[in-house]
Every structure is written in structure tokens, then in C-alpha cells.
């Protein structure tokens, strides 16, 4: 392994090493959650530094014979994943401690999952992509089940696991078909081969199309696109709340990273074929997500459906890429809008779940929306932050969610074919979504505090995490220019 290869892999290796270190620390000093937490938090901050150092020059660096690539997209996504992990770690202790679960295994598992996500971000080989995906989701199943004495957590976990494995099998079958047809596992190789097929005006073989279908179904499941979304509400509702936050963000963004590497890079020559499917999925996803979210009484479940809807919005960005002429500016904006949305979504959605978790600082506090009654008076700061996150999810300026949505819409408008019409569907959906987000606002601010409500007390990490999420949400919305060039550079890297 050359030193260049080592350098490119440093972030990944670092995170895996950190995970193992946590396990080791737990063996040396069992039950010291505080140490584990500090180690994980500080370690992740350093990890971000490592990522930035590795990707500082912004150049593209291929290692392992093209199986892994360090490019701006990798750096962008790696940073995002580390932020997600960092925030999740901050939000977790307040939930786990009162329920008597250790932090060490949790943190290690989370970091393994994040390393899977980071692997996906840099993978340019179908097999590595698959393995990265597995490395991402297997710890995810376990995190869902982490509150193992909790019937709902295990129920969510087994549903997630069974369906996830099912979809992995489907996905793998699709990979096999693609591989069999193109004869290579390299992303670039696949793209090259398919380019020849497309430019050669040959009919696309049924086997390839079947592979495409299997792959589509597989990734649609991972991002929770309708009608492959069924696991989402149950897994999200059942999971420990900080895990829900992570699940709604980490695996989803990683799955989109997978889509970028697989569909936007390897299968890009076929995008004229899959754009329609993506568009239809986008419409179905946002509409169903929003409609069903309207009727939910449990905030975790509601946010789960909301996250389905957000998948739909991100898919619009993908459709914008697919609908635009290859290599065009519009195609780049499509990818960049996906990345931007992902980043904005990470902050606001994690933040929203964090507030839910913050309220559940004692066992037995449910996540029914009614729990939020009078929060604006009971805990003004938590209420205000929740309102901020909800507004961002609604897409009200000047928050991150707004600019993200605007960017996706702009990308769709710039795209070709019928994709611009998706913009209209996005905004109609956003209006519908406003209803249920606002309803939480109504409960928080316009209803009285229920009698016997306990005061909300939070630890320092939780507060720190909320502040970070809030600052991120506002900053990305107010000064999108901070993030925009990065997203665009990342997008340019795969075109």
C-alpha cells in the first residue's frame, strides 16, 4: 500500500480505529460513559480535521486500483457524516443514561456505521459500495435494537432488519446482473461500458434493465422512497430517539451517496431510462409522506413520515440531474442540490429529533405530540429551537431548509423534460407539510402546559448539540454561500 493510498484512506481508517479504541476503552474501564463520550466527541472533532487535511487540496486521488476515490464529494460527505455522528453522540447520553444502557457499544456501533457511510462516499467499485452499504446498515439494525429491553425498539429493529436484508438481497442481485453484463465492478468501467452501449445505439439488454430495476428497488428501500418505505415509520418510532435522529439522517444521506456513486456515476449513461422512475418515486414519496404525516399523533412517527417526504424532495434534485443533458451545468446543479439538501436536512432533522430526545430525559416520557403541550412556556429555549427546526423543515426562510428546497426547485426548473413540473409538486407538498409542522407549533405555543409536567433538564452535551444544530440550520439558511461552493465542487467531481 503506497503512502498516497494510506493518506487517502486515513479518514476511514481513523474512524474505524476510533470505534475499536472505544471498545478497548470500555474493556479497560467498563461503564465509564463519561470517558467514552468525551473520547468519541473529541475523536470525531479530530476526525473532521483529518478529513479536511486529507481532502485539503481538493484533488482527486484514486487508490486500490480505482476501488476507492478521495475527491471533493468524498470530503463533503465524510464531513457531513462526521457531523452527524458528532451530534448523535452529543444527543445520546441524556437518553441512554436514565434507561441504563451503556454508551460504549453504542458509540462504537455508531462509528462502525459511519465508517460504512464514509466508505460509500469514496467507493468507486460496486463491490465496495455493497460492502459499505452493509457496514452502514448492519450497525444500524443494532442501534435500532439498542434499547433491547424495550419491546418497541426490538420490534422496530426486527422489521428494519428483515426488510433491510431482503432489500440487500435484491440490491445484490441487481449488482450481479450489472456486473455480469458489463464485466467489471469498477464504477468508471461500468460507466464506460454503458456509454458504449448507449452511443452504439444498441438496444439495452433485458438483463441490464432487470439489474437496473433490482438496483433501483434496493436503493429506493435504503432511502425510504415510496413504495419501499414501509420500514421507516416503525423503525423510527421504535428506535431510541437519538438513534431515530441518526437513522433519519445518516443512512439516508449515505444511501443518497450510494445513489450518486452508483446511479449518477456508474449508471449515468442510462439516466434517460431511470429519470422517469426517479421522478415518479419522488412524487409518490413526497406526497405519501406528507399526507400520512398529517394524521400522526406521535411526533417520532410524524417526523418519520416527514423524513420520507424529504426523501422525495431530494429525489427531485436527483431527477433534475437525470433530466438535464449530460455534463451540463444543470446536471451539476442537480447533484449539488442533492448534497446541499442533505447537509441542510442533517442539521434540521437531527435538531428536531434532539428536542424530542431532550424531552425524554426520563424514562416513561412518551413521544406523543401532546407531550409538547405548552413547551413554549415550560422550556422556552427548547420550544424556540423546535420551532426553528420545524420552520426549517417547512422551508421558511431564512433557514437551511428553505434554501435547500429553493435549490432543489431551481435545479428542477433548470432541468429538462417534465422535471420542471416536479417543482410545482414540491411546493404543493411543502404547503401540505406546513400543516403538520405548524400543528406541533400550535401544541407547543398555543396550548396550555399539562398539569404535572416535569421540568426539562438537559446535560451540557445535549445543549451543546442543540446549539450546534440550530446554528447550522440558521447559518446555512442565512449564508448558503458557505456551503454552496463545496456542494458544487463535490458535484463537479463526479461529472
Amino acid at each position: 500500500m503506497s503512502s498516497a493510498e494510506l493518506a487517502a484512506l486515513t479518514p476511514l481508517v481513523y474512524v474505524i480505529g476510533l470505534a475499536i479504541a472505544l471498545v478497548v476503552v470500555d474493556m479497560v474501564r467498563p461503564g465509564d460513559d463519561r470517558l467514552v463520550g468525551i473520547l468519541a466527541g473529541v475523536g470525531l472533532l479530530i476526525g473532521m480535521g483529518v478529513v479536511w487535511l486529507a481532502g485539503a487540496n481538493g484533488a482527486t486521488q484514486e487508490v486500490f486500483g480505482g476501488a476507492y476515490r478521495l475527491d471533493p464529494l468524498t470530503t463533503f460527505l465524510d464531513t457531513l457524516f462526521l457531523v452527524v455522528a458528532f451530534l448523535t453522540i452529543l444527543f445520546t447520553p441524556d437518553y441512554l443514561r436514565p434507561r441504563g444502557y451503556p454508551l460504549a457499544e453504542y458509540a462504537a456501533t455508531l462509528l462502525f456505521a459511519i465508517s460504512g457511510a464514509m466508505l460509500i462516499a469514496g467507493a468507486t467499485d460496486l463491490l465496495v459500495l455493497f460492502l459499505g452499504l452493509e457496514l452502514l446498515v448492519l450497525p444500524g439494525y443494532m442501534l435500532t435494537a439498542y434499547a433491547k429491553r424495550d419491546g418497541l425498539a426490538t420490534e422496530g429493529a426486527i422489521k428494519y432488519f428483515l426488510l433491510g436484508s431482503f432489500s440487500s438481497a435484491i440490491f445484490l442481485f441487481g449488482l450481479a446482473f450489472t456486473w455480469g453484463y458489463t464485466g467489471t465492478t469498477s464504477v468508471a468501467g461500468v460507466a464506460h461500458r454503458l456509454e458504449q452501449v448507449v452511443t452504439g445505439q444498441q438496444p439495452i439488454a433485458a438483463g441490464l434493465l432487470m439489474g437496473l430495476a433490482l438496483l433501483t428497488a434496493g436503493v429506493a428501500f435504503k432511502i425510504a422512497a415510496v413504495p419501499f418505505h414501509y420500514w421507516t415509520p416503525d423503525a423510527y418510532q421504535g428506535s431510541p430517539t437519538p438513534v431515530t435522529g441518526y437513522l433519519s439522517v445518516g443512512p439516508k444521506i449515505a444511501a443518497f451517496a450510494l445513489i450518486l456513486r452508483l446511479f449518477a456515476e456508474a449508471l449515468a449513461p442510462l439516466k434517460a431510462d431511470w429519470v422517469a422512475v426517479v421522478a415518479v418515486l419522488a412524487v409518490l414519496t413526497m406526497t405519501l409522506g406528507n399526507l400520512v404525516a398529517l394524521t400522526q399523533d406521535n411526533i417520532k412517527r410524524m417526523l418519520a413520515y416527514s423524513s420520507i417526504a424529504h426523501t422525495g424532495y431530494i429525489l427531485v434534485g436527483l431527477a433534475a440531474f437525470a433530466g438535464a443533458p449530460p455534463g451540463s451545468e444543470a446536471a451539476k446543479e442537480g447533484i449539488a442540490s442533492v448534497l446541499f439538501y442533505a447537509a441542510a436536512y442533517a442539521f434540521m432533522n437531527l435538531g428536531a429529533f434532539a428536542v424530542v430526545a431532550a424531552l425524554q430525559g426520563r424514562p416513561g416520557v412518551t413521544s406523543q405530540i401532546a407531550t409538547f403541550a405548552g413547551l413554549g412556556r415550560r422550556a422556552p429555549l427548547a420550544g424556540a429551537l423546535m420551532l426553528l427546526f420545524l420552520l426549517s423543515l417547512t422551508g421558511i426562510p431564512p433557514t437551511a431548509g428553505f434554501f435547500a428546497k429553493a435549490y432543489v426547485i431551481a435545479a428542477a426548473l433548470a432541468s429538462g423534460g417534465l422535471v420542471p413540473w416536479l417543482a410545482v409538486i414540491v411546493v404543493i407538498n411543502a404547503a401540505i407539510a406546513a400543516f403538520y409542522y405548524l400543528r406541533v407549533g400550535v401544541v407547543m405555543y398555543m396550548q396550555d402546559v399539562p398539569s404535572g409536567a416535569q421540568p426539562v433538564t438537559n446535560s451540557l452535551p445535549m445543549r451543546l448539540g442543540l446549539v450546534v444544530a440550530a446554528v447550522g440550520t440558521v447559518l446555512i439558511g442565512l449564508v448558503p454561500g458557505l456551503l454552496l461552493p463545496m456542494a458544487q465542487a463535490a458535484a463537479a467531481a463526479i461529472l
Binding site: 445505439q201 433485458a206 434493465l209 437496473l212 433501483t216 429506493a220 414501509y230 422517469a276
Partner: protein
């Protein structure tokens, strides 16, 4: 900020007016306005002296106005004094000044308005002495004076319209002065709304004028509109349309059929108000305006015919109603309608001078009559029903005497003012070929004399029907009230002699003739001719006979007391009852005012209410209903769709499998590019 053109007092008239003329005209406007402001702000603290600023102010205004009138009529201003105070609406092409003009027509109106206004103010000191809201009263009254003076001084359509609305407002405020009385509140509202109906047309007319000629200044409009008609730039129907739209406003303000319904109800206001606003000044605004706009109206024979027809119809309609009313003020109100109808008939036949002459005369004697009625009402403790009066002449000598002068004047008995003006109208109607108007006019003259002396009879003569409790304390009003009566009786008696002679070349003709030159030219009227021993003489005789016959009949039926003698004619209630019975259908029609109020109630209140309720239903059920239905459908869809989330993994997996099959099918069917 904006560019303000306070082009302070820039005279634009050719003749150089005496220095300070503009300031005096402004003074005429400003003093009542100040009076209003001061009285409104501090009047409540003045207590009984609420009039302390208002009345002296108006007296002063009267004095200044008289100087202005003198200068105008003496020709010191030339054709007219015109000046701009400031630019009211500087909006590009729409440039509307606050500009005023004093010409002879204005001067004549100023005489009526300030004189009657001043006397009514003085009278009100006594009349309103015991009313706790007197400060409001004087404030409103001053505001009215300002508005009315602005109305006659305004030199463009929009400013006139503004004043027009303001007098309407004052009328509203004063009719509803006794706000606790439901009837007063309803009457004031009715007055405002009915006026607004007319104003719709007026406003549209003004818009049409501006759209057509691009200016609203009177001199320019009156020059440009005929010119454009002559050059063919506008069609005759357009001009007719403009004239008729403008006339709508006059119909409303001067309470002509079919918008006459508000005026009788307006008698809910205090009597001085009835005298000033609803007899002497405001209701004449319509007449004034049509006269002012004579260059427009005279170009359209259709418009002239409409004006004349509506006028004469209103005259006879109102007279027929006045015959049977029992409320003393209502009789006078219908009489006012009737006389206004006369004036419009005159305007319609082109007898502009006669119309203004009648306006002037009517202003004095009707003001007098109302103030007299107020004195009577006051005397019998706010009783207005004539059936509960009678025989009052003994206890109210000054009131009786002055009212008799007024009654004779309105009846058209020579040589009182009404004779001259009314006769001139009938005379001109006949001579201009409107014999049917003349004929109806004569009938109205008979009716007028009859109902006025019915009123006199029931009020002053015969046995007393006054409430026995009140009877002993009935006494003549204090001098503060009677002096204005006397002062008003003088012009009522002698105005005709002063300005109405000699026939055919009277003073008032010399004043107003130039104003209507253009109209006369349009209508083809030559130099006025007068043959005392010819057609004119015959006409005079006929109208005098008509007036006297009505008067005599009323005397016979309702009683009379010859002044200065002991002769009394006793009333004949039995005969009246018999005739009433015989003419039962007509009587009922007259008594119920030909059911106009009921008709309005049906159309506007009931039907309008139904329409409004229907609209609201539409709004709530259909418009908002649609919105809510959309919301319900959306959330209903959510509630249905959520059922697919059964909670069972196998169902989910099946869903995924089906999704996979559909995606695969889609790719295979549509993806195979050739």
C-alpha cells in the same frame, strides 16, 4: 416629499378684482371652518354658551359675504373672480386645484345661504337652549355652513362634489342629531344612502367629463364640451349621457322623484336644521348645480326634457302628498319637494333665471315657514301633529303673522316673493312651448295654496286641540327666535318687488342673464319679451286665480282669521270628512305617500337583505367551503393511506416486492431503446 403648489391666491380672472377680494372669499370659508373646529374642540366646556364662537362667526361671515356679493353684483370682479388656493390633486394629467370662483350666480346663492344661515344660527340659540348636545349642534351647523359655501364657491366639479358630500354629511349628522331616537337614526342613514345613490351617477358623470375633456374646471369644461360636440369629437349621446349622469346627483340632493323619499324623513332633525338645510340651502344644491352646468344641459334636448319631466312630476307628486299629511313639518317638507320640482321644471324648460329666482325666494320663505313651525312646535312642547294644534294665532302672534307671510308667499299671492318667481316659471314654460308643464304647474299652484292654508288653518285657527296640560303654558317664543322670523319675513314679502320687477327686464335678470347666455343661445332663446297685456298678462291672471282658488277653498274648509279684523272663518271638519270619504282611494294614496317607502323597503331592505344573506351563505358554504373541503380531502387521503402501514412485516415485504415488479415492468416495457 411631494411637490406642493401652494400657489397662494393667484387670480386668473381678466378683470383686476379689488385687492383683498380673494382674501375675503377665503374668509367666508375659513371662519365657519374655524367655528366648527373651535366649537368641536371646546364647545362641550362652554356649556350654555356653546354658540359663543359659532354664531358670531357666522354673523361675521354673513357680513363679509355681503361685501363679496355686493362687489360681485356691482361688477367689480368682471365676469367672475377666480382663483386657486392650492393644488388639491396633482397627479400628472389629473390636476385638480382647490379653486374658487365668485360670479353672479354664486353671489345670489351666497345671499340665500349666508342670510338664512345667519338667521337660523341666531334662532338656534333660542331653539336649542335646553338641549345638552347644543355644542355638537353648533359645530355641525358651522361645518355645514363651510360645506355649503364651498359648494357654491367651488370652481371645479370635483371640489363641488367634495362639498356636495360634505353637506350631505352635515345633513346626516344633523338629521340624526337626537341619536337616541331610532327614527332619527334611521332617517339620517336613509338620507345619506339615498343621496349616495344619486351621487353614484354624479361621480360617474364627473369621470365622464374628465375622460372626455381632461379637465374638471368649470370654465374649461363648459368651453371644451360644446366645442368637442361641435367638432364631432364626441357624439350627442355622450353629452346626453354626461348630463343625465350629473343630473342624478341633483336628483338625489334635491330630493326629486324617485330619490325624494329621504327628505320627509329628514324632518327628524331639529327644526332649524330643516329650515336651513332641508329647505333653504342644501336641497337647492341640485338646482344650483344644474344651473351652473347649463352649458352642458342646454346642448341636450333629451336631458332638458328629463329634467323638466322629473321636476314637474315631483312637483305634483309631492303636492298631492302634502294635502293629507298631519305632521306640520312633513307638510312643509313635501311642499319643499314640490317647489324644488318647480325649479327643475324651470331648469328643464330653459328658464334658468326663473329657477334661480324661485330658489332664492323659496329659500327665504321656506326657511321662514320652517322656523315658524319650529316656533309652534316649541310652543306646544315638541308636538308636531297638526291635529293637536289649532287656534294658536292668539298666543303666538309674531309666529302667526310671519308664517302667514310665508304661506302667502309660497301660495303665489302677489305681490309677495313667491308670486313673482313662480309666475315667471309658469310664464316661461308656456312661452317655450311646454304647455303641459304649465298646466301641471297651475294645478300644483292650486294644491300649494290649498295645503298651505290647510296647514295654517289646522295650526292657528279654529278651536284648540292642544294637549290640555300644555295649553295653559303655551307662549310666544323669546326674541332671539322671533327676531329672525321677522327678518326672514321681510325678504319673503318684498324680494319679488325688489328684484322681480320690472317684468321681463327684472333686476335678477340683469344679474343672472350673462351667466346663462350660452344656454340661451343653445336653446335659441332670444331676448326676453314681456307683454303685460298679452300672453304674459293672461298667464299671470290664470296663476293668480289658481292660487286664490286653492287658498279660498282651504280657508273655507280649515278656517281662517283675517288679520286686523275680528272676522273669523270657522273650520268645517264635517265637510272635510265627507270629501275625504268620497275620495277615499286618492286620500289613501296621498296619505300613504303613494307607498314609496314601502316599495323601497321591499326592494332595498328586504330583497337586498336576502341578496346579502345569500352572498354570505355563498361565501361561507361555497367559497370557504371549497377551501375547507380541500383541506378535508387532503387529510382524509392521509387517513386512508396510512392504513397501508399495517405493522406486519410480510405486508411490507409484499409491498416492496410489488414495487419491484412494477419498477422492473416499467423498465422493461419502456426502457428498451432501439
Amino acid at each position: 416629499m411631494g411637490d406642493l403648489h401652494f400657489a397662494s391666491v393667484v387670480p386668473i380672472s381678466a378683470t383686476v378684482a379689488p385687492p383683498g377680494s380673494e382674501a375675503m372669499v377665503l374668509l367666508v370659508l375659513v371662519v365657519p371652518l374655524l367655528g366648527f373646529a373651535v366649537t368641536a374642540l371646546v364647545g362641550r366646556r362652554l356649556g350654555r354658551l356653546a354658540w359663543a364662537f359659532a354664531v358670531p362667526g357666522i354673523v361675521f361671515t354673513w357680513a363679509v359675504a355681503m361685501v363679496v356679493v355686493f362687489q360681485a353684483l356691482s361688477g367689480a370682479y368682471g365676469e367672475a373672480l377666480r382663483f386657486t388656493v392650492y393644488t388639491w390633486i396633482p397627479a400628472g394629467a389629473l390636476h385638480i386645484d382647490f379653486n374658487l370662483a365668485v360670479d353672479n350666480l354664486t353671489a345670489v346663492l351666497l345671499i340665500v345661504v349666508t342670510t338664512v344661515g345667519m338667521l337660523v344660527h341666531v334662532y338656534s340659540i333660542g331653539y336649542m337652549a335646553h338641549d345638552p348636545g347644543r355644542w355638537r349642534f353648533f359645530a355641525y351647523l358651522n361645518l355645514f355652513m363651510f360645506s355649503m359655501l364651498l359648494l357654491v364657491l367651488a370652481d371645479n366639479f370635483l371640489l363641488l362634489f367634495a362639498a356636495w358630500e360634505l353637506v350631505g354629511l352635515c345633513s346626516y349628522l344633523l338629521i340624526g342629531f337626537w341619536y337616541r331616537r331610532r327614527s332619527a337614526a334611521l332617517a339620517s342613514k336613509k338620507a345619506f344612502l339615498v343621496n349616495r345613490v344619486g351621487d353614484l351617477g354624479f361621480a360617474l358623470g364627473i369621470m365622464a367629463v374628465w375622460t372626455t375633456v381632461g379637465t374638471l374646471n368649470f370654465p374649461e369644461v363648459f368651453q371644451l364640451l360644446p366645442a368637442q360636440l361641435a367638432s364631432g369629437a364626441i357624439q350627442p349621446w355622450m353629452l346626453t349621457g354626461i348630463a343625465l349622469l350629473l343630473f342624478c346627483g341633483a336628483v338625489g340632493k334635491s330630493a326629486q322623484f324617485p330619490l325624494h323619499v329621504w327628505l320627509p324623513d329628514a324632518m327628524e332633525g331639529p327644526t332649524p336644521v330643516s329650515a336651513l338645510i332641508h329647505a333653504a340651502t342644501m336641497v337647492n344644491a341640485g338646482v344650483y348645480f344644474v344651473a351652473r352646468a347649463n352649458p352642458i344641459f342646454s346642448l341636450s334636448s333629451t336631458a332638458m326634457l328629463v329634467v323638466a319631466s322629473i321636476g314637474i312630476f315631483t312637483a305634483i307628486l309631492a303636492a298631492s302628498i302634502a294635502l293629507t299629511q298631519n305632521d306640520i313639518k312633513r307638510v312643509l317638507a313635501y311642499s319643499t319637494l314640490s317647489q324644488l320640482g318647480y325649479m327643475f321644471a324651470a331648469l328643464g324648460v330653459g328658464a334658468y333665471v326663473a329657477a334661480i329666482f324661485h330658489l332664492m325666494a323659496h329659500g327665504f320663505f321656506k326657511g321662514l315657514l320652517f322656523l315658524d313651525s319650529g316656533s309652534v312646535i316649541h310652543a306646544v312642547h315638541e308636538e308636531q301633529d297638526m291635529n293637536r294644534m289649532g287656534g294658536l294665532w292668539r298666543k303666538l302672534p309674531i309666529t302667526h303673522a310671519t308664517m302667514l307671510v310665508g304661506a302667502l308667499a309660497i301660495a303665489g299671492i302677489p305681490p309677495l316673493a313667491g308670486f313673482f318667481s313662480k309666475d315667471e316659471i309658469l310664464d316661461e314654460a308656456w312661452k317655450d312651448g311646454y304647455s303641459w308643464i304649465w298646466l301641471v304647474g297651475v294645478v300644483v299652484a292650486v294644491l300649494t295654496a290649498f295645503y298651505m292654508f290647510r296647514l295654517m288653518g289646522k295650526t292657528f285657527y279654529g278651536p284648540s286641540h292642544v294637549d290640555p296640560k300644555v295649553e295653559p303654558v303655551v307662549h310666544e317664543s323669546p326674541p332671539i327666535m322671533t327676531v329672525p322670523l321677522i327678518l326672514l319675513a321681510i325678504p319673503s314679502a318684498f324680494l319679488g318687488l325688489l328684484v322681480g320687477l320690472p317684468f321681463g327686464a327684472s333686476v335678477i335678470h340683469s344679474w343672472l342673464g350673462p351667466i346663462f347666455e350660452q344656454a340661451d343661445a343653445n336653446l335659441g332663446h332670444g331676448e326676453p319679451t314681456f307683454a303685460f297685456f298679452g300672453v304674459d298678462g293672461v298667464l299671470i291672471v290664470v296663476s293668480v286665480i289658481a292660487a286664490i282658488s286653492g287658498l279660498v277653498l282651504a280657508m273655507r274648509l280649515f278656517g281662517f282669521h283675517w288679520p286686523f279684523t275680528r272676522r273669523e272663518i270657522e273650520p268645517e271638519p264635517a265637510v272635510v270628512a265627507r270629501w275625504t270619504d268620497r275620495l277615499r282611494p286618492l286620500y289613501r294614496g296621498s296619505f300613504h305617500k303613494w307607498w314609496f317607502d314601502e316599495l323601497n323597503d321591499l326592494i332595498f331592505v328586504r330583497f337586498g337583505g336576502v341578496v346579502a344573506a345569500a352572498c354570505w351563505w355563498f361565501d361561507v358554504r361555497i367559497v370557504d367551503g371549497t377551501v375547507n373541503t380541500v383541506g378535508r380531502v387532503v387529510s382524509g387521503a392521509g387517513r386512508e393511506i396510512r392504513l397501508i402501514q399495517t405493522g406486519r412485516v410480510q405486508n411490507y415485504a409484499l409491498g416492496i416486492a410489488i414495487g419491484l415488479l412494477i419498477v422492473a415492468g416499467g423498465y422493461l416495457l419502456f426502457g428498451g431503446r432501439v
